[in-house]
């Protein structure tokens, strides 16, 4: 053991320059994993902390109809329950607010919340200028508005506003308010007293929502929720929610995000592994003589292999520590990048869990990627000290290497699956890694065999350049595999990022519709259309909305097993549905079944949206039974749609989970909703809003121009983060591949020095190098880039089930970049021999 440790230290001391790339690969790999994981874990902790405050309570019972006496009785029983610490009720509605002093200013749609004295049960309402909130501020028709809304309406404290049928006095401006999850709508919020709310809201279709909020005693929130759920089960028309649901939802979003970030970390890690593998291989090749000497001096494989393995692990530990420093800096940068993108504060800094995970993963990657090269030590014969060239000796099948290779593949599969939190994604990654490595290996072998035959080449430069690809000591396979795999993962990452950005851009274009109208009656439809045409200059999209209650789902194929009641509740009973002949939205794709022809169908058909994480998602062939006002209909699911990921708060208004084929709902009672792009902010927009409010007082209009601007900003922030990750992965890849290719120079230096001694000019050596490295760069680039297409397609289709599109420009850039990188590094790594006298190099040899 003493020898192993001493030898490892001495070798590291002597070879630190050569091993710096090894060290760097680990530092980059560990650093990126730790920083990306730390960030998500910090976010998750923040979500846990903030979830109660965001929800303003522990458990909430809500309804969009006045409480039925039965539900009210059940809820009232809990007021004195030992599980409950406090409770309060909130009444909310969407309504229009208008400034009294400027009646010509356009009204703004807001979410009106009527609150009682106990509200909020968690967190506190913060007012601007440090003023303290007290419920008494709301009494006697007082109102609190968000500071942004105050600015928008040009209001100050003491001004009056019209809200429905009443006039309220502004008593304060809200800086920050808990309860984001209470009656969640993407609208500015205003607070009034609970008693004033009914008069302030217009009594319209689906206008009011009631929510009874409970604060549970310490540790009793889950018991409270369970009991409420049990007691309310026999009743209809309520919803039951918990802050844990919000936490879970946020955690789900974070998990998806973590998966994306882990993917980037994984790619960097594999690139790092490729670097480690290349460095170890070249290092061991250079150490052949030392290994042979050690074996002559009595060192058996345990001693020698142990010394170099200890060296690799020691480098891994130091590299990992550097990686942690690097990760600390990265979290600072990332926290800044995501600042404002998320609804909670992200803390910079590392978590212990992520740090330990990173070091563990780093050690495993080091071991896995360096082991194949280290095992070559066993095959080094001590005879090498007597006879330099032993290349001609035939090798038998090395079963140990094969077995270890298999173990390495399995371990890498486990590691990638763990990193990506998915066995399928792990399988795709490792399958592609191993498959591409095998293809590159075959290409390398085929190339060498082919070139050996092509002896009659017309010029010396060509003969030398091509000869370097197959002569003893060639680096053909090594460069092909390192660069090919590097190109694969860097290009795949870029392709995936481009697809992700495309999804975000689709949503950005949807945000182009910045005005929405709801509750248009059938006899108002034409007039609304004409008004919008006249003042906005374009025809609005108008769609019918029918309310349908889902009473049963029978599963295909035999329909004898209806969906369990609990699952049906989870899927949702009350639905706003529409009917149309096509999707007409490019952010949705049909993932199962086929969308109907644009003609009315003989039997009712529905298309259902697939939502990841939902307990039950209907499948093609299922039968959904709806209770409409007058009758029940059974509609067969003929297609399942999936929506692209991304931010889409505004487009949610026009999003229908269930769409009917035309022909089934036309005669049902229905209202209409409309979306269109309004005139730019100013007089025309204000005129349109006034005219709509005056002509169609029952129609709710929603102006999301500012909201769309916020979304655009968020999309840009996400886009920036995506770009940052992409550039980060690209730079890591280039750095690691540069090092891997440059490491192979040792084999070329001696030859170039001999050529120079024999009279070759710099130009000649450059040409020879360009031919050798050009062929390798091109082959590696084409193979890696082609494999990247397969990898991203598999990852999109089977890994994250997202739409995928070929972006040939990225693949072509991938090939060109690989070619350029390998040729440039090849030439520059021979620079030493071109600028220095050859004697030094020959002496060293």
């Amino acid at each position: 053991m003493k020898f192993i440790l001493n030898m490892a230290w001495r070798e590291m001391r002597a070879s630190w320059r050569r091993l710096s790339l090894f060290f760097l690969c680990i530092a980059i790999g560990v650093g990126s994993i730790v920083s990306l994981r730390s960030m998500v874990q910090n976010m998750r902790a923040a979500v846990g902390r903030d979830a109660r405050v965001m929800y303003a309570c522990d458990v909430q019972v809500g309804s969009n109809q006045p409480w039925t006496p039965e539900v009210e009785a059940v809820v009232a029983r809990y007021f004195d329950s030992p599980l409950v610490a406090a409770h309060t009720e909130v009444k909310g509605t969407q309504t229009m607010i208008r400034s009294v002093k400027d009646p010509n200013a356009p009204p703004i749609m807001v979410l009106l919340l009527g609150v009682q004295e106990q509200y909020p049960l968690y967190g506190e309402i913060q007012l601007t200028d440090g003023a303290r909130y007290a419920h008494s501020m709301l009494r006697g028709y007082g109102i609190l508005l968000t500071s942004g809304l105050m600015t928008q309406l040009g209001l100050k404290i003491g001004d009056e506003v019209n809200l429905g049928l009443l006039t309220f006095t502004v008593r304060g401006a809200i800086e920050n308010m808990p309860g984001y999850g209470v009656i969640s709508r993407p609208l500015p919020r205003v607070l009034v007293d609970y008693a004033d709310a009914p008069e302030a809201g217009l009594t319209i279709f689906d206008s009011f929502m009631w929510a009874r909020l409970f604060k549970a005693r310490e540790g009793k929130d889950q018991a409270l929720r369970r009991q409420l759920e049990r007691d309310l089960r026999p009743h209809r028309s309520y919803w039951l929610g918990s802050f844990r649901g919000m936490q879970n939802f946020a955690n789900q979003v974070l998990e998806r995000m973590e998966a994306q970030l882990s993917l980037a970390g994984l790619v960097i890690l594999i690139l790092g592994g490729i670097g480690i593998s290349s460095v170890t291989r070249v290092f061991i090749q250079q150490k052949m003589k030392t290994i042979a000497i050690l074996k002559c001096l009595g060192g058996d494989n345990r001693h020698v292999l142990g010394a170099y393995l200890a060296q690799a692990l020691a480098l891994c530990v130091v590299g990992s520590l550097l990686g942690l420093l690097f990760a600390g800096a990265m979290t600072l940068v990332i926290a800044r990048l995501f600042d404002g993108v998320l609804p909670f504060q992200v803390e910079a800094g590392l978590t212990w869990r992520a740090a330990l995970q990173g070091i563990g993963v780093g050690a495993l990657v080091t071991l896995l990627f360096s082991l194949p090269s280290l095992l070559e030590i066993r095959l080094v014969k001590p005879m090498l000290v007597m006879r330099q060239n032993m290349a001609g000796e035939k090798r038998r099948i090395d079963w140990l290497s094969l077995g270890v290779g298999l173990l390495i593949v399995l371990a890498l599969f486990a590691l990638t699956s763990y990193q990506a939190s998915s066995l399928r994604i792990g399988g795709i990654f490792i399958g592609m890694l191993v498959g591409t490595a095998l293809v590159l290996n075959l290409i390398g072998a085929g190339l060498m065999r082919l070139l050996r035959r092509a002896r009659r080449l017309p010029s010396f430069v060509l003969r030398q350049g091509v000869g370097s690809l197959y002569r003893p000591g060639n680096q053909t396979k090594m460069i092909l595999i390192a660069v090919g795999l590097g190109t694969l993962f860097v290009t795949a990452m870029r392709l995936h990022q481009a697809n992700l950005k495309r999804e975000l851009n689709v949503d950005l274009s949807l945000a182009a519709a910045d005005m929405y109208l709801f509750d248009i009656q059938i006899d108002q439809r034409q007039a609304v259309e004409e008004t919008v045409m006249r003042l906005a200059g374009a025809a609005p999209e108008i769609i019918p909305v029918v309310r349908a209650r889902l009473v049963e789902i029978k599963r295909a194929p035999d329909y004898s097993q209806p969906l369990k009641r609990a699952d049906l509740n989870k899927f949702g009973r009350e639905h706003r549905v529409t009917y149309k002949s096509d999707l007409a939205r490019d952010d949705e794709t049909v993932v199962a079944g086929k969308l109907w022809e644009p003609t009315p169908g003989a039997e009712p058909e529905v298309s259902v949206e697939y939502i990841q994480g939902r307990d039950y998602n209907p499948a093609v062939g299922d039968l959904m039974i709806f209770d409409l006002t007058e009758r029940c209909i059974a509609a067969k699911v003929t297609s399942v749609r999936r929506r692209m990921e991304g931010f889409s708060v505004t487009s949610d208004y026009f999003r229908f989970g269930i769409i009917f084929r035309p022909g089934a709902l036309e005669d049902e009672p229905q209202i209409f909703a409309s979306a269109f792009k309004g005139p730019p902010p100013g007089a025309h927009r204000a005129q349109l809003q006034r005219e709509l409010v005056d002509s169609f007082p029952n129609v709710l209009s929603l102006d999301v121009y500012d909201h769309a601007a916020v979304i655009r900003k968020k999309l840009n922030d996400v886009s920036l983060a995506v770009n940052f990750l992409s550039v980060f992965v690209f730079l890591c890849g280039v750095l690691i591949l540069t090092g891997s290719v440059a490491m192979t120079k040792i084999h070329r230096l001696y030859e170039a020095a001999i050529l120079k001694t024999l009279g070759a000019e710099k130009k000649l050596i450059v040409y020879i190098t360009l031919i050798e490295y050009g062929v390798l760069g091109l082959l590696a680039g084409v193979t890696g880039s082609t494999a990247a297409i397969a990898l991203t397609w598999l990852y999109s289709k089977y890994g994250v089930k997202a739409p995928w599109q070929l972006i040939p420009s990225i693949n072509l850039i991938g090939v060109a970049a690989a070619l350029l990188l390998v040729m440039t590094v090849g030439v520059f790594s021979n620079w030493e021999v071109m600028t220095k006298k050859p004697l030094g190099i020959l002496r060293e040899e």
Binding site: K2, F3, N6, M7, R10, E11, R13, A14, S15, K289, T290, I293, L294, K295, C296, L297, G298, G299, D300, N301, R302, H303, K381, P382, M383, V385, M386, G392
Partner: protein
């Protein structure tokens, strides 16, 4: 001490088989200093590497101290070398990443000998490189490097010392100095020394000189020194033809 019976070595070059050492019978008693001479390609180094267990013979048996090494696995051979065999090479073969002192230390560390550091320092003194112990091979002259190699070869007190043209890369002055050191240390420790050399003057200082040509032993002569030294046991030699 060293016994070879019917040892031959054949290598394959392309489709042709080439015998570089024909069936050799050789017995070298403990403490004897044997020089092997012959022109380039005569099989001297092959003989040496077979005796060291660096390569396997095509036919025959090799015994070191009564132990047959021809069927031994690589790792066991390595351990045997660590305990019984010292090496000196023409091109020194010092480990470039280690200092002179550490190069001497390595075999003792591998073998797990106690007081290795102390012993390495003593050996450095003995070869006259006390002040050069912290230097790397690249900072030493050829003669100094070979002295370090000699110290390393003696570090484990091997019973057998194998030297492959130890002065081949040195000028005559340095070569003479290194050879004298080698002989002195060998005599002090009564090591069995098998020396391969081109230099007949050096060979004449051995107890016994074996001449090889085209893979065959063409002569095996005891020198005057051997007669004076009165060997512990009879030495025998015969080629396959004689056998």
């Amino acid at each position: 001490m060293i016994d070879l019976a019917n040892v031959s070595k054949t290598v394959t070059s392309g489709s042709e088989k080439l015998t570089i050492l024909h069936a050799v019978y050789l017995s070298i008693p403990r403490g004897q200093f044997v020089a092997v001479v012959g022109p380039s390609g005569s099989g001297k180094s092959t003989l040496l590497s077979l005796v060291a267990g660096l390569d396997y013979p095509t036919t025959g048996d090799i015994r070191l101290d009564g132990e047959c090494i021809t069927q031994m696995k690589e790792d066991k051979l390595a351990r045997l070398r660590g305990v019984k065999v010292g090496f000196i090479f023409q091109s020194f073969h010092l480990i470039t990443s280690l200092t002179a002192y550490e190069n001497i230390l390595v075999p003792m560390e591998i073998a797990g000998l106690p007081r290795a550091r102390e012993r390495a320092q003593l050996l450095l003194d003995e070869v006259g490189l006390r002040e050069r112990g912290h230097h790397y091979p690249s900072q030493l002259s050829g003669g100094e490097q070979q002295r370090v190699a000699i110290a390393r070869a003696f570090s484990n007190n091997p019973a057998i010392l194998l030297a492959d043209e130890p002065t081949g890369n040195l000028d005559s002055k340095n070569g003479g100095r290194v050879f004298d050191l080698l002989v002195k240390l060998n005599r002090d420790r009564s090591t069995t020394l098998l020396l391969v050399t081109h230099d007949h003057a050096l060979a004449s200082q051995a107890d016994r000189v074996i001449s090889l040509n085209e893979g065959r032993i063409v002569s095996d002569e005891a020198t005057g020194r051997m007669a004076d030294a009165a060997p512990e046991s009879d030495s025998t030699l015969h080629t396959a033809e004689e056998a």
